[in-house]
């Protein structure tokens, strides 16, 4: 019985989950402490609101509807997280996912609003735009030895301002926002296939949600089960060995960033083609989606399936933050709380290491105790024997 328990604790997957939960708890605690400093009376309410998110609605239909909305924003976050994860497994840090996401948003919205294309064409264009940006980083990395982090960050800004300029041509005359997709070209909206009905007729719930989960499974299969994934992982772990055994490591690096870029681009299409948000053509910061993907992928223990749940959690608290009482706290408080938690999510690997060393120490101590016990037993026995 006891042995089973220790082997469970040693299991890598269980450890990842525990470490992630620990991060979440610490993040919430830290958030609570910050709230206490700002305004102690409302702190408990505020933190529980963040955690409750849509459960704050008393009626079940309303809660379901907003659960749906949280899921709508989870899908793009998951895609960004997968983009980063895919590259990370190949030894690349795709911080350019944020820019690839922006490129995807620009491509799908322009295709929908200017060219009146159907949703699937917009989706493909978004993927291609993200992939093109990824390819740029990949080519720079493999042929000019430019670090993908540097080129990624610079391309993020280039993508943002290019997309702002491009989408200014399809924006509402009186506002900085792009035209509403639903009214200008409803064929560009992702089909719902009746999924919206499950969430109290939430019209933003589309096939994007199941598709993003399928993408996670696909990433898991490609990396773990295929020849292609084997080559990519070998290149990521040791590019000299990959070259030695005849793999084309330059091609692999470019392909990885192309696929990562496509994933992030599709993520953007999943949000903007659901009609949930309009693009603000005057925004001067890269959308946080791509960066939050970094936290989601680490919180998910660098496992595509874990990342599904991690992405949901991060979106859950981000959405929940919007319900915090604004009379007690300033409007930015929700972002502050969620960013504290997201920040701590980066510590998953650290906690995992910490737990491992604790377990090892405990085992050593127990082994020592057992030995002493055995020695004591044998002493007692020999004494008994002597008495007889």
């Amino acid at each position: 019985m006891k042995r089973e328990k220790t082997s469970l604790l040693k299991n890598n997957g269980v450890q990842s989950i525990l470490a992630s939960l620990l991060c979440i708890l610490l993040g919430l605690l830290l958030g609570y402490i910050v709230l206490l400093f700002i305004n102690p009376t409302g702190a408990w309410d505020a933190i529980s609101t963040v955690v409750k998110n849509f459960f704050t609605y008393p009626s079940r239909p309303a809660a379901m509807k907003y659960f749906g909305s949280t899921l709508v924003k989870t899908a793009p976050l998951l895609m960004c997280a997968l983009s980063i994860q895919f590259a990370y497994k190949v030894g690349l840090f795709n911080i350019g996912a944020a820019g690839q996401y922006v490129a995807g948003a620009g491509a799908c919205l322009y295709a929908a609003l200017a060219w009146h294309m159907p949703w699937w064409a917009c989706l493909i264009l978004a993927a291609l735009a993200g992939a093109a940006l990824g390819a740029l980083s990949g080519v720079l990395k493999s042929y000019c030895n430019v670090n993908e982090v540097i080129s990624g960050i610079m391309l993020n800004w280039i993508a943002l301002y290019t997309v702002n300029m491009l989408l200014s041509r399809v924006k509402e005359p009186a506002s900085p926002y792009t035209n509403v997709v639903a009214s200008f070209n409803s064929s560009a909206l992702l089909p719902s296939l009746g999924l919206g009905k499950l969430f109290t007729n939430n019209q933003y719930v589309t096939i994007a949600i199941p598709l993003s989960v399928l993408a996670a499974i696909a990433v898991w299969i490609v990396l773990g089960k295929t020849k292609f994934g084997y080559e990519l992982r070998a290149t990521g772990c040791n590019k000299d060995a990959a070259r030695y055994c005849g793999m084309n490591e330059k091609r692999n690096i470019i392909l990885t960033l192309v696929i990562g870029g496509a994933l992030a681009g599709i993520g953007a299409a999943f949000l903007y083609l659901s009609g949930y948000e309009q693009w603000q053509c005057t925004q001067s910061s890269v959308p946080a989606m791509g960066f939050n993907g970094i936290a989601a992928t680490f919180l998910g223990g660098l496992n595509p399936i874990g990342t599904v749940f991690a992405s949901y959690f991060i979106q859950h608290i981000t959405s929940g933050g919007a319900y915090v009482d604004k009379t007690m706290y300033c409007a930015q408080i929700s972002d502050l709380i969620s960013s504290l938690i997201i920040y701590l999510c980066g510590f998953v690997l650290f906690f995992k290491h910490f737990m491992n060393s604790r377990i090892a120490r405990k085992e050593e101590r127990e082994a020592l105790k057992e030995k002493e016990k055995v020695a004591a037993d044998s002493d007692a026995k020999s004494e008994e024997g002597g008495q007889k």
Binding site: K225, T226, K227, F228, Y230, R233, A234, C237, N238, D240, A241, A242, R243, Y244, C245, G246, M247, A360, E363, L368
Partner: protein, 512 residues
């Protein structure tokens, strides 16, 4: 009066989950002696040294310094007791000068300003006293491996350490540098320093050590006086059985030409001259041709050019009559070229992969391992790995799913040898295949190489070890400054003659 010991490690036992790394080991280092610690990979030498350095706490046993029981809880305690170590892989800051590296951590300061002149005087005095030639102002990245090692030794002397530990110090040195190091160690011992010399090279131990303690599989086998022992006895103590030093080969008549290299020239990555200059040779079926030479004379680049890792400047390479000068690495491999690389951790293995994934590294794309749709056939890979593990006796903690990183160097090398030989190549290119391995593993790998030759395969061996050069091949080609300067018959030549060619003092007219 009792004999004076600098360090005594008495009845040390250190256990790890599932393994007893040190089982009741006693090691006594006399003042002013050179004491060798001999054992195969995994015998417990490193664990014992880690205990001495306070990196591990032993379950049982005591450590005495100058007869006093001491507690060593961390490396700082070890330093305070005057114990210093030259690690196998040097711990130097590449972009610092030699002097900066020596004073690193104990910088002489006055009011926050470095007092380098003082330090320089001390370093120069030390280097003269012990014959340790270094240039204090050279950057570490620019100096030879031998000088880097002398810098490490000076680091210990600068800190006035009394007990000096050398962990496999000769693994990275050329024959000349080894001789120099031996002389330095003798000087240090003569000045009263106590030296612990960790090695598995019997010749070196025989030539420099006063006494030798032997470990095998975590157990203490015994301590012998070098003057009263022999190479054979030491190896028997280390391995637990008689070891064959002679390589036995059946006579064989070389067959058709497998590898033909004509006028090969390869550029150097380090300097503007070519590393390989207009080299021509051939290797026939059923013979082992060895390229000998001091490290850095173009052997690495020659292999890179041959295997496709680097392009040729000019020349032609033919494998079994087919021109492969411009062929890809993968093409060369599938055409029958196997390559045991010089650096097993850099090129030979993906250390974070499992053993089974490493064993199919050259063949994963073959239909037997990759099915339709690009999916890996995991079961076939497992079966194949199990067969290789059994056949080539690759030992690891968890069999095919062991992470390659956690395996010992000898078994990592065995895995590579298994992978490359099981491909059934026409040409085997083996680059320093026994580098850093113990006697048992060396014997095993030599047998495998000779078996390939006896099976009628062509073998090109690149070696820096004189023992290997003299015993394994059928022909020796000596390389000096990128050129082949002589061809020797190992049965007719002597080590002295070989050395003259290697040092560039002699060359054959036909090879000029």
């Amino acid at each position: 009066m009792e004999e004076q010991y600098a360090i005594e490690m008495l009845h040390i036992t250190k256990k790890f989950p599932g393994i007893i790394a040190n089982d009741d080991i006693t090691l006594q280092l006399k003042k002013g002696e050179i004491h060798a610690l001999l054992g195969e990979n995994g015998a417990g030498k490193s664990t014992l040294m880690s205990v001495l350095f306070g990196l591990y706490q032993p379950e049982e046993g005591t450590i005495k310094k100058d007869g006093q029981v001491v507690q060593i809880k961390d490396p700082n305690d070890a330093n305070a007791l005057g114990i210093g170590m030259v690690h196998q892989h040097f711990k130097l800051v590449e972009c610092f000068t030699v002097l900066d590296n020596i004073i690193l951590g104990v910088e002489p300061c006055r009011k926050g300003f470095l007092q380098k002149d003082e330090a320089r005087r001390k370093v120069v005095a030390l280097s003269e006293k012990y014959g340790l030639m270094v240039d204090p102002d050279a950057y570490v990245r620019d100096i030879t491996v031998g000088m880097q090692q002398r810098t490490e030794i000076l680091k210990m002397l600068y800190r006035e350490n009394e007990v000096l530990i050398f962990d496999e110090p000769t693994a990275v040195l050329t024959p000349q540098e080894i001789d120099e190091l031996m002389q330095i160690m003798r000087n240090l011992a003569a000045e009263g320093k106590s030296i612990l010399f960790i090695s598995h090279k019997l010749n070196e131990i025989m030539s420099v050590a006063d006494r030798c303690s032997v470990l095998r599989k975590g157990k203490y086998i015994g301590t012998v006086n070098i003057a009263e022992t022999s190479r054979e006895e030491l190896s028997r103590m280390m391995v637990g059985r008689d070891v064959q030093f002679e390589v036995t080969k059946k006579p064989i008549e070389p067959g058709k030409v497998i590898l033909q290299v004509e006028n090969m020239t390869v550029a150097s990555k380090l300097h503007h001259n070519n590393a390989v200059k207009n080299v021509s040779f051939q290797v026939r079926a059923g013979e082992i041709v060895c390229i000998a030479g001091i490290d850095g004379n173009g052997q690495t680049e020659l292999v890179y050019g041959l295997t496709g890792l680097e392009p040729l400047e000019s020349g032609k390479v033919t494998l079994e009559g087919q021109d492969i000068t411009k062929a890809s690495i993968r093409r060369r491999s599938t055409m029958g070229m196997s390559h045991i690389p010089e650096d097993r951790q850099k090129h030979g293995l993906v250390l974070d992969f499992t053993l089974e994934d490493n064993l199919v590294l050259q063949r994963y794309f073959e239909p037997q391992f990759t099915g339709k749709g690009g999916f890996l056939k995991r079961r076939a890979i497992r079966e194949y790995a199990n067969r290789l593990i059994q056949q080539y006796d690759v030992r690891s903690g968890q069999g095919p799913v062991t992470t390659a990183r956690s395996m010992s160097g000898g078994n990592q090398q065995k895995a590579i040898v298994a992978r490359e030989i099981d491909k059934n190549p026409e040409l085997l290119v083996a680059v320093q295949p026994t580098r850093g391995l113990d006697v048992g593993a060396i014997e095993y790998i030599h047998k495998q190489i000779v078996a390939e030759r006896d099976a009628g395969k062509a073998v090109l061996l690149i070696s820096l070890e004189l023992d290997e050069v003299m015993s394994v091949p059928d022909r020796i080609l000596v390389m000096y400054e990128g050129e082949i300067v002589g061809e020797l018959d190992p049965k007719k030549t002597t080590v002295q003659e070989l050395g003259l060619y290697m040092a560039g003092a002699k060359r054959e007219a036909e090879h000029v």
